[in-house]
Amino acid sequence: MGFEMRGKLLVSERLYGALLHLYPKQFRTAYGRQMRLTFRDACRVAYRRGGAGGLLVLWLPTLLDLFKSALEEQAHQGEITMSKARLIAWAGPLTILVGSVWLVVSIGDFVLQSGLVGDEAFVGFITFPFFLSFVPLLFALIGTRLRFHPSAGVLGRLGLALSVAGGAGVLVAMLATILLGRVAPQVNQWPWVNYSAVGCVLSIRIGYILFGVDALRYRLLPRWNLLPLLAGSTVVLSLSLDWFGVPAFLPSQWATPFLHFAITGACWVLLGIAMMEPRREPQPTAAI
C-alpha cells in the first residue's frame, strides 16, 4: 500500500470515527469498532477503483446515510429529548463563543487593514477561527430555535427556521469547498458554492431580523429584546456602507468589515448572556 494512499485512508477512517459520535453511546459501544473496520474496507476498495475521486464518491452517500441512521438510532435510544434539552442549554454559551470569535476577528481584520501586520500566517490566524465558528454557530442557532419556537409567532418561527437552514447551508458549502478542493485542486474557484454560502449567510441574517421583530413584539428574551434584530441588521449597515460610501469620519479601507463583524460579534455576545438568564416563568396569581 502506497504512503499517499495509506495517509488518505487514515484521514478518512479517523474522520469517520469522529463522526460516529453522532450515534448514541450504547450503539457506538456495540458497533462503533465494526463500523470503522467496515468503512475502512470500503475506503480501500473505493480508492483502488477510483483514487481520491473514488473516495469522494464513497464519502458523499456515506455522510448522508450516517446522518440518517444516527438520527434513527438516537430516536430508538430515546436520546433525542435529552439532546434537545442540552442544545437549548448550550445555545447561550455557544452564542457568546461565536460572538467572541467574531469580535477577535474584527480586531484582527482592523490590524490587518491598518498595515501593522501583513503576513500570511496572520491572515490564517484570523480566517481559520472565523470559518470554524460556523460549527458552534449552527448548534447555537438550533438551540435558539428549539428554545424560542414554541413562544414565537409565525414571523419568528419562520426567521428561526431560516437561520438554522442558513447555518447548515454555510457548513455544507464549506464542506463542499474542502472536498472539491481535494478532488480538483487545480480548479481554484467554484462560484456556485460561493454564491450558495453568501445566500446562506444572508438567510441567517434575514432569519434574525424576522426573529428580532417577534422578540420585540412578544418580549421573548429575558432582557435586551432588540439584540436579535440588531444582530441581523448589521448586514444592512455593511451593505449601506458598501453601496452609499463610508462617512468621512471613518477610514474607508477598514470601516465596513470592522464595523460589520464588531457589531455583530458584540450583539451575539450580549444575546448569549441574555439567553443564559433563567427563563421567566409566569408567576401564579396570589389566592384571594
Binding site: 458497533y31 452517500p61 450516517l66
Partner: protein, 116 residues
C-alpha cells in the same frame, strides 16, 4: 412461531437481501455489503450506518446472531465480528422467498416480463 414469521412479512428489501447474503454462510459487515451489492448487480448498495442499524434490528428480532466461528486467523482481522442466520432467520427467509416465488408465478402467468 408461524404467526411470528407471518408478522415479519413482507421483509424490507434491505433485510431480505441481508438474509439472502448470509444464507450461504457467516459474513462480517463488509462481506454482507459486498454480497448484497454483487447479488443485486449493484442495484442495491447498503452503506455502513444503515448496515449496522439493520444488524442491530435483525439481532433484536432473532433473525441473525453473532457467531464465534472464525476463518483462519491469519487470513482475517480477529477484531471483526461475523454474523450468521439463526434457525428462525432461515425460516423467515424461506417464507419470504416462497412469497416472492408465488408472486413470480403470477408475473409469469401475466407475461409481465415478456420483452424485457
Amino acid at each position: 412461531m408461524r404467526e411470528d414469521i407471518q408478522s415479519l412479512l413482507p421483509l424490507t428489501p434491505t433485510v431480505f437481501h441481508m438474509l439472502l447474503a448470509l444464507a450461504d454462510g457467516e459474513k462480517h459487515g463488509y462481506g454482507i455489503m459486498k454480497a448484497v451489492e454483487d447479488e443485486t448487480q449493484g442495484q442495491m448498495q447498503i452503506r455502513t450506518g444503515s448496515l449496522y442499524g439493520s444488524i442491530r434490528r435483525m439481532i433484536e428480532a432473532g433473525l441473525i446472531e453473532e457467531t464465534d466461528e472464525r476463518p483462519d486467523p491469519e487470513l482475517d482481522d480477529e477484531r471483526r465480528r461475523y454474523y450468521g442466520l439463526t434457525d428462525f432467520g432461515r425460516r423467515v427467509l424461506t417464507a419470504e422467498a416462497a412469497r416472492i416465488a408465488q408472486a413470480m408465478v403470477v408475473i409469469q402467468g401475466k407475461h409481465i416480463l415478456d420483452g424485457v
